[in-house]
């Protein structure tokens, strides 16, 4: 499989009142064509900021300060605004964490779908009416694809006339309208109830298989990762701490943080056993000392861990940011 997205040593900082926040601090990752990468980590670990950086959508006071973002052979950081605009929505699409606020309340769903086709689709006919009909047909098709009943009629409606699950689907329909090579789905299910969660994830997997698109699935839910992702990347305090094939990482984590995350979720196989939450809190990202960031919460921590810990190989296709990874097996 060829690499589609390769991020190396990405740094994104926010100039906040409290000081410089290193929200993304040396993140490197790869996504191959057609692959699904799961991204997990506690709230505030930098998952969303990492991928906003990839999209070139970090807002002031934030700034990407270092690193390369190669997509399809081009470094996105070298592109002009216009070149970047052409890629967004067409080659890389994104769904936002909160579907309830991501759709414009003042525009109809039809318009919000049509405009992305209008912006990117070169196969549309040029004649006015033919173009309008083609856009309408494609919009209807997309809404049908994500399972919205009677799509023709619903194109004329506004977002508030849809349920949360339906809005999530609409956002996915918009993201997929131009058949992107990469879909970044930022917590596509957090706001939804359980049955709809499963439906939305099935939908994404299904479309991924059909379109051969790669997916980055950001989530808090390791169960979701286990079911849908080929590989998984665990983030902690702005860094990647572990990365590898999903079954291996979940079966035998080689970072104490991943192990902690796994121990804190209920699993049917372990029913009856007590859950052990990770003690302590995510460190403040302002003025972090150069040492293992998980040190304060790590059950395996030792004085020698008070140094900057690099990513280390942990077997084929696996990496971990822990000095004691060999002892974890």
């Amino acid at each position: 499989m060829t690499v589609l997205l390769e991020v190396s040593n990405l740094h994104t900082e926010f100039h906040a009142r409290a000081g410089l926040v290193r929200a993304v601090d040396g993140v490197s990752l790869k996504v191959s064509r057609g692959e699904c990468l799961g991204v997990v980590g506690e709230s505030g670990s930098g998952k969303s900021v990492t991928f906003s950086s990839v999209m070139g959508l970090v807002r002031s006071p934030g700034q990407v300060t270092q690193g390369a973002i190669f997509f399809d052979g081009r470094n996105l950081r070298d592109l002009s605004r216009e070149e970047m605009r052409a890629i967004r929505g067409r080659d890389i699409a994104m769904t936002m964490q909160d579907a309830l606020t991501a759709l414009n309340p003042a525009l109809t769903v039809g318009e919000q779908l049509a405009e992305v086709l209008e912006a990117h689709d070169e196969t549309l006919p040029t004649g006015r009416t033919a173009r309008r009909t083609a856009i309408r047909d494609r919009s209807v098709e997309m809404l049908g694809l994500v399972g919205i009943p009677s799509p023709e009629a619903r194109l004329r409606q506004y977002p508030h006339e849809f349920s949360g699950g339906m809005r999530q689907r609409i956002m996915i329909a918009i993201a997929l309208a131009c058949r992107p090579k990469l879909l970044i789905a930022d917590e596509p299910t957090t706001a939804l109830d359980v049955t709809i969660q499963a439906q939305v994830l099935e939908l994404i997997s299904d479309i991924r298989a059909r379109l051969g698109m790669a997916v980055v699935l950001i989530t808090h839910d390791l169960g979701v990762v286990a079911e849908h992702c080929d590989r998984v990347m665990v983030m902690y305090a702005g860094q990647v701490v572990e990365e590898g094939p999903t079954d291996q990482v979940i079966g035998a984590p080689c970072h104490p943080y991943t192990r902690g995350l796994l121990a804190s979720i209920p699993r049917p196989a372990l029913r009856g056993q007590p859950l052990t939450p990770i003690m302590g809190q995510v460190p403040d990202l302002v003025g972090l000392p150069p040492q293992c960031r998980f040190h304060s919460r790590c059950p395996l921590a030792q004085p020698q861990c008070l140094v900057e810990v690099p990513m280390r190989d942990a077997g084929p296709g696996r990496r971990s940011r822990c000095l004691r990874l060999e002892e974890m097996a």
Partner: protein, 335 residues
């Protein structure tokens, strides 16, 4: 919004308007000075003549009766005689109204046409030099007294540069038949473009003076709501779709940001009425505002009463319009 709902809302306005009428009535009834004395002035009249005058004006009846009479007449547009003009008040007002409406509308258009682009630009270039200048400018705009600013403009453009007329509504040279009373429309109907240009020249300075505080307020509202909207997730999502910057700003952001601007504009249009009295006086504009000021000095009560009622009703209706516009522009809100 259905027509039924609209009617329902209109009917709800009736008690408000009645209340407004009562306040206007009581206020004038309590104002010191006897209208009969003022009407008569220095003339010597017999007590019989005075009593007759009083009866004619209905001043001999009890207050409550006078109020209901006032309302009953008002709904028929009968506001009595203007002492000074010797004609029905309604006629005098109707004659002056088009000039005021024309001036107010042009001021409104000037305000919207400058405030919205400036507000958007200030928001997009937040904290830039332009933004700071705009903020200072808008502060001045709301705080400068209208008469002072008007006189300043007259001195600069009419007296010093001599490119615009000092006062009045149109040069005597251009006589066009009155159809609507709005000179900008009547001149065009007559096909007299020279007169149209002339009418516009007379309008510019008073319209700018009248519209200035509103421009300042609307600019600040637009800037603030634009900044608020630009922070929303749907703007990020619109950008993630790869839309052009122009489309994100004008279609996605502005459409939402204008909701408060339009509501405030409708409400602020009511305050143009107050501004009219000053501006029309400074620029010798023959409208209702100046008529009211003159009538106050002349203690021409029936006219003042009718005009104040008209102002109040307009104000209430404009608030109603603001409500309606808000619902029309905002698909989430249902009446």
């Amino acid at each position: 919004m259905s027509l039924g709902k609209l009617l329902e809302r209109l009917i709800q306005l009736i008690p408000v308007l009645l209340g407004v009428s009562l306040i206007v009535f009581v206020m004038l009834a309590l104002t010191p000075g006897d209208p009969v004395q003022i009407m008569v002035g220095e003339q010597a009249i017999t007590p019989e003549q005075e009593a007759e005058l009083r009866r004619d004006l209905g001043l001999d009846r009890p207050m409550v009766e006078r109020f209901f009479l006032f309302i009953a007449n008002a709904v028929q547009f009968d506001f009595g005689q203007s002492f000074y003009h010797g004609r029905p008040v309604a006629d005098v007002i109707a004659e002056r109204l088009p000039a005021t409406i024309e001036l107010s509308l042009v001021a409104l258009i000037v305000a919207l046409a400058t405030a919205i682009p400036l507000g958007v630009l200030a928001a997009i270039r937040k904290n830039s030099i332009f933004d700071r200048l705009a903020t200072v400018g808008s502060l001045l705009g709301v705080s400068l007294p209208g008469f002072w600013f008007g006189i300043l403009l007259i001195m600069l453009f009419a007296v010093h540069l001599q490119i615009l007329p000092v006062s009045g509504r149109i040069g005597y040279a251009s006589e066009v038949p009155t159809v609507t009373g709005f000179l900008l429309i009547d001149t065009l109907l007559a096909g007299d473009f020279a007169a149209f240009g002339e009418a516009l020249r007379y309008l510019i300075l008073p319209a700018i003076t009248l519209g200035l505080p509103m421009t300042a307020i609307l600019m600040r509202v637009t800037r603030a709501s634009m900044l608020e909207v630009m922070r929303q997730d749907y703007i990020t999502f619109a950008e993630a779709k790869g839309l052009s910057h122009r489309r994100v700003i004008f279609r996605h952001a502005l459409k939402n940001a204008l909701i408060p601007t339009v509501s405030v504009a409708a409400i602020e249009t009511g305050s143009l009425l107050g501004g009219n009295m000053i501006v029309e006086t400074v620029f010798g504009w023959p409208g209702l505002g100046r008529l009211v000021v003159e009538s106050i000095f002349l203690r021409n009560y029936p006219l003042v009463q009718a005009a104040v009622l008209l102002y109040a009703i307009t104000y209430v209706l404009l608030n109603f319009v603001a409500d309606i516009l808000y619902t029309v522009l905002n698909p989430r809100v249902k009446l």
